[in-house]
Amino acid sequence: MSATAVHSLWTTAADPIQKIDAPNIEYGQLAPTLIVIGAAVVGILVEAFVPRRSRYYVQIFVSVVALAAAFAAVVALAASGYGTTKAGIAAMGAVAVDGPALFLQGVILLAGVLGVFTFAERRLDPVAHGNRVDSFAAQAASVPGSDSEKAAVKAGFTTTEVFPLLLFAIGGMLVFPAANDLLTLFIALEVFSLPLYLLCAVARRKRIMSQEAAVKYFLLGAFASAFTLFGIALLYGYAGSVSYATIAQVVDGTVETVNPALADTMGNDALLLIGAAMIVMGLLFKVGAVPFHMWTPDVYQGAPTPVTGFMAAATKVAAFGALLRLLYVVLPGLRWDWRPVMMGVAVVTMLGGAIVAITQTDIKRLLAYSSIAHAGFILAGVIAMTPDGVSSVLFYLAAYSFVTIGAFAVVTLVRDAGGEATHLSKWAGLGRRSPLVAAVFAVYLLAFAGIPLTSGFAGKFAVFKAAAEGGASALVVVGVISSAIAAFFYIRVIVLMFFSEPRPEGPTVAVPSPLTMTAIAVGVAVTLVLGVAPQYFLDLAGQAGVFVR
């Protein structure tokens, strides 16, 4: 590098008289995120100042109101055309406000509301010392079984911090699919990951497993995000910028004025390819695709079930949103490089998830593996590389998230002395004991299995159709086969619930409060509506299917 260049660098960097013009932020368009984050901060203050007795209610109030308001904002934005015609880049190019972003934010917010409901459930666990308790530790810091914990329980402490944590996570998730430069992407990733790590650790029952889940999730998550970050570094090195638009231009080779300092790195495709691969790997980790899936079963099993439900639904939505944007906005120029690779990933994910699930004996792990298989199905839609592909993925995510939250909410209901009875053998004859709950769960399982007239079928059909139109017929065939395999274990659970005699020492089905009931009911309703009359939502997803560049 020549001395003049160096000099110029110094001068530009340290020019005293150069004045920084204030960035202009479109607060309106960022309203959903801002509301949620703000509410999270408020939640922290609540923790600080509101007396313990009333915290629980205040937190619920704050969270629900915030999420509702944010959802209203999303709807308002979509209604005023930000999803389609007025779609654009906000916050100095950091955040995109377009169809996919708004659609996914809406889904995440609704999932968040249901999440709050399941978080706030206090009827399931037996009353401890006259206090109704939720599924979170009385005092996460205290060692399980220690005196301090007993005291905490006696005093009726509860970890109301989960609500602000949840809000922070949601805030991050809202940004994640909308992030329009790699830095924002990374920050959003961390913002929604860190609270989740914590939430995993604070289960009231089986805390050891809960903490183990948290550690695994945290270490592996951090490991993955390190890869992402390095990938970002390489892309930055390649394109000299982290903004999607610029990188895309560089990839397509449509840059007007090439900065001579960049000339040599731009030519270096190794940087580009390795960097892209590492970022994609980070996202695949979040969606739980094989071979980056190994955290999923353990974490899903160990985490408090409400958290699992929310995480399984919302994380997938956010991560796939980000993945879509990355592949459709930044790397379309590279599709011939990444498409075959992604196909491979999709295939092993579909098959791997389905096959390993066959022999699972724990309902939460079973659902974890099924979520892996579903990640594979969604990837099939992602690979289509057509507008149909985008909208089909959006639809699938919406359908899937409600089914998931509902299913895990049902899991929280089936309990025995040791808390939730997650071992499959204990579910035997559930259909005899309480037909309704079993029937509802059966509906969810059938939706997972993709039986017609459930949202699962509509979604599966949409993505497979997109994939076939996108010329990935092979994926469709594999998908169909793995669906057949997957059907086997969903059916197994149904058999267990309905056709096997109930055990005398079998679990009881707790009667939940209206909160969980709402979550479950909404889940069923959405499952059936999206199954029978999906057109309206398909239209929605269809309109939302275009990324702003």
């Binding site: 509509a458 057949a484 056709f499 096997s500």
Partner: protein
């Protein structure tokens, strides 16, 4: 906008199912009567359809068409041709008998808790199946058809697995295991078939851009939509596989004996007489119309498989020890005939196949239901446990004999007409296959008469010595079926008049003409 007759015919049992399921646990009998009345009302509607249908009119009549899922190119399109009308009538006709025959099959045992309501569930599920079967006969939109073709598995699955035959050897646990094995097998086979069909359905959409049977068929006919030969063949195979599992065709048949063996007799009838017909019907309507060329390409292979089914099923029926499994294998043999008739690509063959679907439905229902009555009396499905029943319960034995004779397609009973048509239709194009298939007649005589001899004749076994003869309810189930068998055997014209035009259409779809008799050909 005229009254949506077809929708009503399908919706009525669906609503009835929900209503039946909602009947409180204590009001068991009320649920039964409700179900029976609904099924009768459905029958009435089906009769109206039959009357309103004009054999000489358009191909699809009473059509309804509404937008449904635009993005998937799916419309809610209903319409019936002669074949569909006949099968809808059959379905609507059989269900009341199924319900009546299963009157006590789902009465709860003491062990069940009060909240478990098997009776309501049983009859609700039967009605649900009826609704789905009827609508899949009516659907002229491939996707719509597919949805119900798949969805009907779920209620069937619960019927098989949830309400097994209480007459079983061994412990309850063992029986339960057997049952759920049968149910799972049924579901997985059909689900696998359905999913492979799903791939083909998607493929069809990619090729054709919509799912309307009429549009695609027309486009295929006038050449405006031409598929690459291989594409067409793959799609055809995708569809055919699902239908062959449902039908069932050798070697995809093994789920049927388990299912029919473990299910209660009425449910077994539901499976083989009603649900499986959707498979053969779909071959006739979808495979031939959508993929005429591929159908012709696959014909030889399919005929051979059908032939194997005929002989193989019959031989295995001879080898069975369990009455219901025997009937199941007999059905496999008969489905072989139906499929052979469809793919013989002659008017006689296809008319015969269609009649065969109806007649086989009635005859199997008669035989299986009587067998069910017999089994519930003795509490065993093993042929060896019976003997000399004819002495103590002559009416039961008599009806059983007539059922058997219908199964071996004795002239004068309905099945003969259809079986002979199928044979002659096949023979006209494929003499060798036709001749080998006639061995099926002899084997049919073998397994039915052996069954009759072992169970009904000979010295009276002590266990059956106190066996009561048919009750009024049971007679009310069997007598009409037998009357129908005789009527359709002597005067099938009403049925053929409805079926013939549709068959002529199908023949023209596949661009096939009947082979001319040698004498005329010579001229």
């Amino acid at each position: 906008m005229s009254f949506p007759l077809l929708t009503a015919t399908a919706a009525l049992p669906a609503i009835g199912a929900i209503a039946t399921a909602a009947v409180p646990a204590a009001r068991r009998t009320a649920a039964k009567w409700l179900a029976l009345l609904v099924s009768l009302a459905t029958l009435a509607l089906a009769v109206v359809v039959l009357v309103r249908f004009d054999p000489d009119g358009d191909r699809y009549q009473l059509t309804e068409s509404h937008a449904w899922i635009k993005d998937f190119g799916v419309r809610y399109e209903l319409g019936v041709d002669g074949i569909a009308v006949a099968l809808i009538a059959l379905t609507a006709l059989l269900i009341p008998f199924v319900i009546l025959a299963g009157w006590h099959d789902a009465d709860p045992l003491e062990t069940h808790s009060s909240r478990w309501r098997p009776t309501q569930g049983f009859f609700a599920l039967i009605l649900g199946v009826e609704a789905m079967v009827i609508i899949s006969f009516e659907a002229t939109d491939v996707f719509l058809f597919y949805i119900f073709f798949e969805a009907m598995l779920i209620p069937m699955y619960f019927l098989i697995g949830g309400f097994g035959d209480r007459a079983h050897a061994g412990s309850d646990e063992h029986a339960a295991a057997q049952r759920s094995y049968a149910a799972v097998k049924f579901l997985l086979y059909n689900l696998a078939g359905g999913l492979i069909m799903l791939a083909a359905v998607i493929g069809l959409y990619v090729v054709a851009g919509n799912f309307s049977l009429q549009e695609i068929a027309e486009a295929r006919a006038n050449g405006s939509l031409d598929m690459a030969t291989n594409t067409e063949r793959w799609l055809f195979l995708g569809f055919f596989f699902a239908f062959a599992v449902k039908a069932p065709l050798w070697p995809l048949h093994t789920w049927l004996p388990n299912a029919m063996g473990e299910a209660t007799a009425p449910v077994a009838v539901l499976i083989t007489a009603v649900v499986d017909k959707v498979g053969t019907f779909a071959m006739l309507r979808f495979c031939l119309q959508l993929f005429p060329e591929a159908s012709k390409w696959a014909t030889p292979a399919i005929l051979v498989l059908a032939l194997i089914s005929i002989i193989y099923g019959a031989l295995l029926a001879v080898g069975q020890r369990d009455i219901k499994r025997l009937v199941a294998y007999a059905s496999i043999s008969h489905f072989g005939f139906i499929i052979m008739g469809i793919f013989a690509m002659t008017s006689q063959g296809q008319s015969g196949a269609t009649l065969y679907m109806v007649n086989h439905g009635i005859s199997t229902a008669a035989l299986m239901l009587v067998a069910g009555f017999l089994i519930t009396r003795r509490g065993s499905r093993l042929i060896a446990d019976y003997g000399g029943v004819q002495k103590v319960a002559p009416v039961l034995a008599g009806t059983f004999l007539i059922g058997s004779l219908a199964t071996l397609s004795l002239p004068g009973l309905a099945p003969f007409v259809s079986e002979f048509l199928v044979l002659i239709g096949t023979f006209a194009r494929y003499p060798v296959i036709g001749i080998i298939a006639t061995f099926g007649i002899v084997l049919a005589a073998l397994y039915t008469l052996v069954l009759y001899q072992r169970t009904m004749t000979g010295p009276v076994k002590p266990e059956v010595s106190a066996m009561p003869d048919l009750k009024v309810r049971e007679l009310a189930v069997v007598a009409p079926l037998i009357a129908l068998l005789i009527f359709l055997g002597v005067y099938p014209k009403p049925l053929t008049d409805i079926v013939n035009p549709a068959v002529k259409q199908t023949m023209s779809d596949v661009h096939k003409k009947d082979p001319k008799p040698e004498v005329e050909a010579a001229k």
